[in-house]
Point group: C2
Chain length 413, copies 2
């Protein structure tokens, strides 16, 4: 009999080997660039299909371009399905883990669970979605949205930068644009969706833990803030009485950061700023900036942004300026399913000694699947908290822990 | 005998009429657009020549394209010259006063002084320089630099946006590119330069005074400030431990403004800012911004920017970022000639009851003439403190006061 620790390590090394191998299905250049419905995607799907077969699954490509592996479902409740998965695509010059690791670990976890005697009376599917990053087309999540019935046919007309329509790219790839709406799963058929993903942040590294259990996928809102003042010659207008929009904006940026620091799990980011007229010798008249706020709690998020907007209007007024906010995007938070969270916690405690709960600040395929079924997510520690870069890295040991946790999750289902 | 107030008003109305008239020498569009060595410039010079003739001057175009009117100089010291002037050109869609008003009021002041019995034993010249704004070519001050001997022949090869070289534009206009260096005036020949200019700021309007006496032309320095932090996903990186370059920059902007407010006559402006990567969902990694500082005192200016740089480095470090400053441009302050300042003060007190001293935050032709001779400047109140826009405005009454002050200055010389 193999020592459990050695066995866990071996599964992690298998994961690392698989991810290194499939990382070669990429455009030339630093890191991994694998966009949906391309030759790289086709080659990656061949590799993933082999992983699925190895885990005992039958494999098919659905109308939306999702590679679907299916196991079991011949028991008492063949119509019930538990889905594990993530996306196969990457950003440009991204890493080897984001997305695809969730597919690789799902296959390995099923393989391991079966070797440990897992014989479910429901079906297990592993999904490799075509497109979560939205790099090639200005849309994403086609696969999970199709399953959830939230797919918007209008996106099929969107074009990539070479003028190729999503509809045609999908059809050439073997998908069926006209068959997507039929992919919608019946309510209750999918009992849950579990996604494993690299954390893309520093929390697990700081805590010294291989995996963490996601409590909630943060809601997101994006606002466009405009500060209007009055320009003038930088030499001839005295400091007193200036209505400098950038000076007003600076106070808003500082206050936003200070207040956000004080609220657990809230993230507020001003990622873009531009100033007009924008000349070295002109007092700024207008500043336009973005304010993105994320929180696992929608009320907390909305209260925060309302308070920032209120503070900003008052602060700008004191500076002789005006501040206006416009919400440009909003996506509510999605809680992970409490029973799944608890089961992942138990498995984490068994495998790594303790469990850690954290929110997901980023959107994932799980965000779209949440419209269909209860969801859960397991995060794997990433080195330096960095993602979407060639240096993105998860260790074999950590992935081994994740395979063990997932496999225990399956067996406990 | 005419009532003095009525007479002053009449001279102001003449000035307004002249400026309205010459404002028509402009490209189509809002406000005045009169670039050097163009048809508009040629037509304007015909008008200015008529003003000069009316004041009793002989008129010529010099090699650098400056229209030169000359009066007197047949007395005991014909070689001594007092120069009054400004520039004829405008920015694109500028106003009717910036530059050209200084030429118009100089002609009227000489005309008035002569009517009041002014018979100097020195020569008076009025100069209408071709180009102070630097809009057509990426250089400016050709005329006064030629007189001061600071003209750089390399600028003749500069091209406008149609690919026309300054050399060719000047030659076509009737100037003589090869004769520019010979324009240099002998040391001591020009006893002074007096420029009248619209204030381009709100100080005189606030004080309720038609004219003000410039003490000094502010020195200028421009710095490029770079703040380097660390980017990351706006959703996955918690607030604690972020190294957000824009948050660090915001503190620097606020402190720069606060400190500048406390220093008399100092102006500090951050007019440009850009952030990289510059995406709504990415923490800012790098912020690049300009810092322009102006002061009539070079030591005050240098101390201020050194202190801001020191503060910024410390503040950035506390935020996990780094701040670096690079000085990209520096021009020392130029004091106006104390005897001229005093004479303008006396005349101002006589005409408008009291005098007001103020620095010039902007550069003028006088800045270049300061390399040749003692300089002085008289500012005329502008409505709303605005300049370089079609709405730029000085009242006839205020210009009448300026004519009277200038004419008294001449007669006291």
């Amino acid at each position: 009999m193999t020592d459990p620790e050695t066995e866990t390590a071996a599964w992690g090394e298998a994961a690392q080997e698989r991810l290194t191998g499939i990382g070669a299905c990429s455009l030339q250049g630093a890191g991994v660039t694998r966009l949906p419905f391309t030759d790289e995607h086709r080659r990656a799907n061949e590799v993933i299909a082999a992983w699925m077969h190895r885990a005992g699954m039958t494999v098919s490509l659905d109308a939306a371009g999702t590679l679907v592996g299916r196991f079991g479902g011949k028991g008492l409740t063949p119509e019930r399905v538990l889905v594990l998965g993530s996306h196969q695509d990457s950003v440009r010059n991204g890493g080897r883990y984001d997305g695809i690791m969730g597919v690789a670990l799902a296959c390995l976890a099923l393989e391991k669970a079966r070797s440990d005697g897992f014989r479910p009376d429901f079906a297990v599917e592993v999904h490799a979605y075509a497109d979560e990053e939205g790099v090639r087309f200005p849309t994403a999540l086609l696969g999970p949205r199709a399953l959830a019935g939230t797919f918007d046919p209008a996106v099929l007309e969107m074009q990539d930068r070479d003028g190729v329509k999503l509809r045609d790219a999908l059809a050439d790839f073997g998908g069926d644009p006209n068959g997507i709406t039929a992919l919608k799963r019946a309510p209750g058929q999918v009992v849950g969706y579990l996604e494993t993903h690299i954390e893309q942040g520093p929390v697990l590294e700081s805590a010294g833990l291989p995996v963490g259990v996601v409590t909630s996928i943060c809601g997101i809102e994006r606002n466009s803030a405009t500060v209007s003042g009055r320009t003038g010659h930088a030499g001839t207008v005295p400091m007193q009485g200036r209505r400098d929009a950038l000076v007003a904006a600076a106070g808003m940026i500082t206050e936003t950061d200070t207040r956000a620091q004080a609220i657990p799990d809230l993230r507020a980011t001003i990622g873009t700023i531009s100033v007009a007229p924008g000349a070295v010798n002109q007092i700024p008249e207008t500043v336009t900036m973005s304010l993105e706020v994320r929180s696992p709690d929608d009320g907390t998020r909305r209260r925060f942004s309302a308070e920032i907007a209120e503070f900003s209007r008052g602060f700008a007024t004191k500076r002789g300026c005006e501040a206006a906010f416009e919400r440009t995007y909003e996506q509510p938070a999605q809680d992970c399913h409490p029973a799944f969270v608890e089961r992942l916690q138990t498995a984490s405690e068994e495998v790594q000694g303790r469990s850690l709960l954290l929110p997901s600040g980023a959107t994932h395929d799980a965000s779209a699947m949440a419209d269909l079924c209860p969801v859960a997510m397991l995060f794997v520690r990433c080195r330096g908290g960095v993602s979407h870069v060639p240096e993105e890295y998860a260790s074999a040991a950590d992935m081994g822990v994740a395979v063990e946790v997932l496999s225990r999750f399956l067996r406990a289902a």
